[in-house]
Symmetry: C2
Subunit: 336 residues, 2 copies
DNA sequence: CTGAAAGCGCTTACAG
DNA sequence: CTGAAAGCGCTTACAG
């Protein structure tokens, strides 16, 4: 069942069928009606792949995220699909699993599939392969938007949160609570948002004249395991910190797990503020203070930026920021 | 840059280029090499859409889930993408947001996009539109696999968990702990897994001769809000239950939220066993007893079933079960 | 082993 | 307002 079959049964040309399919105004109501009836009767569904080949655009886009199990990314994906749906774009989802190699594979697939655009959070902010592939994309007019994480030295449209500011507020708050031994579980410089949160930490510490102790700055990554052991490192210090700031939700979870497994009570034995809210913990009334931002909104904005460049490839690349908010629920102080 | 350009520069026919692209054995090493060099030099990427049109198969598939923010579904998607990647299939992701209308829309898109197969968890197990669209799919040889939720009276390949058994074990455990006032937060019959968990509850109650009290059976849905108010209903009963069994993770969360907001301590004031483990709670050392199953595994199996039917459309539809496990962490008893 | 040519199912510039 | 025909970029049966 293809467009020719419909044309024959409706006694028109395929051009006419195509026109009614595309709601062209230059077709008589009566012929339109006749064609539509045949389409309905035959249960005909036009092939988007044939159309894509013909018009040289697919109306499909790709999303590459490092980990869809991370609530930040699943929320962002919701935001993306919401606007994709209303804009009639379809999304291919690829899970890079935090590995650049998979990311490269997927980028190749995206090229083959002739997707119109792509939204991604790079596995590694320093990756040159990803960077240059994306630049080729832009040259071939496939729109690219970076979400949350950026790529070193590369210019793309992107949506970010006010990371440094959020972290700064959090750490300033810890200082106001009287803490001076404040540790940070941070990430690698190749993950820019996490790194900027680190900058926020330093900013607050320096502004308040609190000495920054290198042994209080420990490194983790996107998997909670490392944060778990990083917390151990901190707590086994001769002079352990009295407060910790964690740079993302996975780190927060790893840190929390270490503490609970070792009888360290958050808000009594140690203060904690995390970056990214964790809904599940709120549900159970766990009073964790956090820096929050709207991940759905970030997804929506990423789509807006993508649409903008899709509609006009010469429109300027832009960076949009979503606000960040410090939510205090008690874990920032040491009660008892 | 298309296949003809490459053919011209390599001084062969497009047929030959196509053959090297597809690793056909009937092409001389030297011509192959020459063609490959030109491809490399030109940075040529063949169009999957043209190929799809030509071979009448896209090697693309669709996934429609009700809510990717639900950890069960995001984990299942990981399982799916893992095997999709190794089988060289690409996945379109659609979020139905628990609404049949969107689901219908997406199914139409899937048809237009000529996807080879689809994995879905229907928003409504009684939905006849979805049911008949899927049956048409099967007739047109687009493979369909249901994940977790099924469709009333319709035969499709599917992967499920041993829901009733898991629920049975949980409730039996509550009874062994001495509870007789055991409530259940259940779902609508249109969500089969949740409903079968209800059957497991009844089975355990009846087997033990514990009277089933209608007021202890309250209804919620996939959003935690309803479970929140359902819990209120239970707790405001003249004779409130001493134990609750919740039929999925969202219900568990809603129930927990009500309890924490009202100073009801799980494991002291009331016992609770939920269906589906909640990793975040484990991380913070929240001792919640649950019935667990492997959602990633369910995703992987769904893909296997899909591949099987893709490779041989006449292969029998089959239902595969993943095991279910009762994990006791203390919330099933009333200490103190 | 290689090529010419038809075909996959649409769209669209052109002519009428 | 409608149609004939070329074109989008591949694949493949057929002939050699």
């Amino acid at each position: 069942m293809n467009i020719s079959d419909i044309a024959r049964k409706a006694q028109v040309s395929t051009a006419t069928v195509s026109r009614v399919l595309n709601h062209s105004s230059l077709v008589t109501p009566k012929t339109r009606e006749r064609v539509e009836r045949v389409i309905r009767e035959q249960g005909y569904t036009p092939s988007a792949v044939a159309k894509s080949l013909s018009v040289r655009a697919t109306h499909n886009m790709g999303v590459i995220f490092p980990d869809i199990e991370n609530p930040f990314f699943s929320s962002a994906l919701i935001g993306i699909t919401q606007v994709a749906e209303q804009k009639k774009y379809n999304v291919f989802y690829f899970n890079s699993d935090e590995t650049p190699e998979k990311e490269h594979e997927f980028l190749a697939v995206i090229r083959q599939q002739r997707l119109d655009g792509i939204i991604l959070s790079p596995a590694d902010g320093y990756d040159q392969v990803t960077g240059s592939i994306l630049e080729e994309f832009e040259q071939k007019n496939v729109a690219v938007v970076l979400l949350d994480r950026d790529l070193d030295r590369r210019q793309f449209s992107m949506v970010r949160a006010k990371d440094q500011e959020g972290a700064y507020l959090a750490v300033r708050q810890l200082i106001r609570e009287g803490h001076t031994r404040i540790a940070i579980i941070m990430g690698s410089p190749s993950n820019r948002p996490v790194f900027e949160r680190c900058a926020g930490y330093l900013q607050a510490m320096e502004e308040a004249g609190v000495p920054v102790r290198p042994e209080y700055m420990v490194r983790a990554d996107q998997k909670s395991e490392i944060a778990f052991t990083a917390t151990r490192t901190l707590m086994e210090l001769p002079e352990p910190p009295t407060a910790i700031f964690t740079c993302n939700n996975m780190m927060t979870l790893g840190c929390l797990r270490f503490c609970t497994e070792h009888g360290i009570h958050i808000g009594r034995d140690i203060a904690l503020i995390g970056f990214d809210d964790i809904q599940t913990l709120r549900d159970v009334g766990y009073h964790l203070s956090v820096v929050d931002r709207s991940s759905r909104e970030m997804g929506r904005i990423a789509m807006e930026l993508l649409m903008k460049r899709l509609e006009d490839p010469s429109s300027p690349k832009e960076t949009r920021f979503v606000p960040t908010e410090l939510i205090l629920r008690g874990s920032e102080k040491l009660s008892d």
